[in-house]
């Protein structure tokens, strides 16, 4: 179980605030009435990507409660069935969080693959559950394009998070403020 305390409480809470603020910013940009024509290609789901990046790199910055809050808000604002995408994302981020210990010593490609698999799990699981509950769905091609673009955008998100907010993987042997090995 990830119970890192690599940073001081102040940093942890500021990073949690940053996560929430970035998510709200992404929602705001998505809601801007700039795209009123139907698209044939769906861009990456940035909030999902942000959540996975944090969950794999610094899980202590995003407790499940905050992820759930952000995702439910996104569900409500983006006209998705409320709760389902949130539940799947929380589930996936918990799985990734449990794996973050093992992944951090492995090369980046493995981390990327793990994130991509989690994405597949969330988006395909979402479709399957919607199909079980007979909810009308988006065209499969559009969902596939979103899956691919999101998976491809993962390195960019990692880079952005590392450069802008210092969300790096914890190096083996690094110690926290209390001198504990993490």
């Amino acid at each position: 179980m990830a119970e890192h305390a690599a940073a001081s409480p102040a940093r942890i809470w500021s990073m949690r605030a940053i996560y929430v603020v970035i998510s709200l910013g992404i929602l705001l940009l998505e809601l801007l009435p700039q795209q009123t024509m139907p698209r044939t290609f769906a861009g990456p789901d940035m909030i999902l990507l942000l959540t996975f990046t944090f969950a794999l790199r610094r899980p202590e910055f995003i407790p499940s409660g905050i992820v759930a809050m952000v995702m439910v808000l996104a569900d409500l604002l983006l006209q998705r069935p409320p709760g389902l995408m949130a539940a799947l994302t929380v589930l996936a981020s918990q799985t990734l969080r449990n794996r973050s210990d093992g992944v951090r010593t492995l090369p980046f490609t493995v981390e990327w693959l793990t994130a991509a698999l989690a994405l597949c799990g969330v988006l395909i699981g979402y479709r399957i559950i919607l199909a079980i509950f007979v909810v009308p769905q988006a065209p499969a091609l559009l969902v596939l394009s979103q899956l691919f673009s999101t998976a491809l955008a993962y390195p960019l998100m990692v880079l952005g998070c590392a450069v802008l907010f210092g969300v790096r993987r914890v190096a083996p042997g690094e110690v926290d403020t209390l001198g504990h090995r993490i």
């Binding site: 179980m1 119970e3 890192h4 305390a5 929602l27 705001l28 940009l29 998505e30 809601l31 801007l32 009435p33 700039q34 795209q35 009123t36 024509m37 139907p38 698209r39 044939t40 290609f41 769906a42 861009g43 499940s64 409660g65 759930a68 995702m71 439910v72 808000l73 409500l76 604002l77 983006l78 006209q79 998705r80 069935p81 409320p82 709760g83 389902l84 949130a86 539940a87 929380v90 589930l91 918990q94 559950i129 509950f133 909810v135 009308p136 988006a138 065209p139 559009l142 969902v143 979103q146 110690v175 926290d176 001198g179 504990h180 090995r181 993490i182």
Partner: protein, 305 residues
């Protein structure tokens, strides 16, 4: 002095896991609740949107403005070409304007001759588009008019030329417009001049297909499509667009409204279509007791119903 942090946290792990599962179950329960009692949750959603989106407005307006300016800047690069195009179009428009003026006069004359009465109750509320659906899978818009402006679910929305969609979800300050291109949008239409009835089914593409057409051979690309008013939800006679044929031979609508730039929309007040319920009874001369039968029908037209 380093010691393993994980040992300390061991007693926390089961608790954390339990809380996580409870959270996931609660979220899934929300989804189930939505599936069972959708109207209640959708009302809640409308309230949340009503609270959240207008409070974002201070941030959205400048960003939106900046993006629009950038987009306009892009068009400066091909300004010469555009200018020539505009001149050419202007030439054509002048010819059209002449034709339109003549037709308008003729139309007014004919309407006068026929004593046609246009529906005086068809008025509109104009709203500004605040936000779009935000996801590539839904096609909807958020207007800044809502229940306090008298907006009611189901009213038609136009952009001044053609139909855009219908109101679906009203908050007190905002209302959501489900666009004709959304995959859950269905609109009964009439195709002129053949008078064929059909249904326009949104499918998340820019040109929705025309379905349930009885005699497709009577319909040609270029025919006008207007709303038929079947079902009583929409007023009849609103322009939707023109028929077009895609490479696969399927008939689609080229929408008249400019979906590229939807900024101001009109919501048409629709106070219900009056239906004629009386099948019409026998018309007979009014007979008073003392009057003789055999009245001359030219003076007396008793229309009792």
């Amino acid at each position: 002095m380093a010691q393993d942090r994980r040992q300390e946290a061991d007693y926390l792990t089961p608790l954390r896991r339990l809380l996580g599962s409870v959270l996931i179950l609660a979220l899934f329960g929300l989804f189930l609740f939505w599936r069972i009692d959708s109207p209640r949750v959708e009302r809640f959603r409308a309230q949340v949107v009503d609270q959240v989106v207008p409070s974002f407005d201070w941030a959205m307006a400048p960003v939106d403005g900046t993006l629009n300016i950038l987009r306009d800047f892009q068009s400066y690069t091909r300004i010469h070409k555009q200018n020539q195009e505009l001149r050419r179009e202007l030439q054509q428009m002048k010819a059209w304007k002449e034709a339109a003026l003549q037709l308008e006069q003729e139309n007014a004359r004919l309407l006068d001759l026929n004593k046609v009465r246009l529906d005086p109750r068809l008025t509109h509320v104009t709203g500004v588009v605040m936000a779009d659906s935000g996801s590539p899978f839904r096609q909807s818009l958020l207007l800044n008019v809502g229940a306090r402006d008298g907006i009611v679910d189901g009213w038609a929305t136009m952009d001044g030329i053609g139909l855009v969609g219908r109101i679906s979800g009203v908050g007190s300050k905002t209302a959501r417009v489900l666009l004709l291109t959304d995959s859950s949008s269905r609109l009964p239409v009439t195709i002129q001049p053949s008078g064929q009835r059909a249904l326009i089914e949104g499918d998340n593409s820019a040109a929705p297909p025309i379905e349930f057409l009885e005699a497709p051979e009577l319909v040609r690309p270029g025919d006008r499509i207007i709303s038929s008013g079947d079902g009583g939800v929409f007023p009849a006679g609103l322009l939707v667009g023109r028929v077009a044929q895609d490479p696969g031979g399927r008939l689609r609508v080229r929408l008249a409204a400019d979906f590229e730039r939807l900024e101001y929309l009109r919501v048409l007040r629709h106070l219900g279509t009056e239906t004629i319920q009386d099948p019409g009874t026998l018309i007979e001369p009014r007979l008073n007791g003392e009057e003789k039968t055999g009245v001359d029908l030219s003076t007396r037209e008793g229309v009792d119903g």
